[in-house]
Subunit: 129 residues, 2 copies
């Protein structure tokens, strides 16, 4: 049986995917994958997602240069969530977020509001030019 | 503006939630939250999810005793994914997965197939009795 057939794709043919930095353990981002994205991720050893807004494959880093080298592909107990262990390439310190931050999870709930607690490491206008 | 209103709930009123162990950085599990689950999580300082299969609030650990104490609630750049930093209580070493494993992400893709690479720490029959 094909390993891709063991994944429980949702009604839209997608699974959630979490990218975690291998060296630090930081959760960098969350995105979606279709069958082709997961197949290409495993084949290329770099993260390929499915862009729900654009409706096509999204080779992470294709515009920004912030490619994710994939060391491990994991699947959860229900076979419906993927976890990638990655090295986030393209900038030092590493940038995964389109806002120019290290991680997408930069809003911290504090005193009853979301506060931006992590710095912008590179101006997005300089990333996407 | 209420911080809960800033979350971009999906068409079913849910957001994905990732639970990460604060002490180790390990990604423990992935679940969903509705507005009430997130509100209660912040209020109680323990993880409350929304069970899509049962259609109700799921106080993590209510049956297993494997409660997640929540240290941080984070939101991503698009305001549509939650990340919790937790202490996984109830067993040492910690168990988050209903299979009795530390993390739900115990299937590793290797040699073209999913391999179970993490041990069962406690028999699920002894967890859910």
């Amino acid at each position: 049986m094909d390993w891709l057939d063991q994944v429980r794709w949702d009604s839209q043919g997608l699974v959630p995917a979490i990218a975690q930095e291998a060296s630090t353990g930081d959760v960098l981002m969350f995105a979606w994958m279709d069958r082709e994205a997961l197949r290409r991720t495993a084949e290329l050893g770099r993260a390929v997602y499915f862009s729900r807004s654009r409706g096509n494959l999204w080779f992470k880093g294709e515009e920004s240069g912030h490619v994710q080298q994939v060391h491990e592909v994991r699947l959860d107990c229900d076979n419906d969530v993927v976890l990638l262990k990655v090295t986030q390439l393209g900038h030092d310190p590493s940038i995964a977020c389109h806002t120019g931050r290290h991680s997408c999870f930069f809003h911290l709930l504090k005193d009853g509001r979301w506060q931006e607690v992590d710095p912008v490491l590179k101006d997005p206008q300089a990333i996407y030019k």
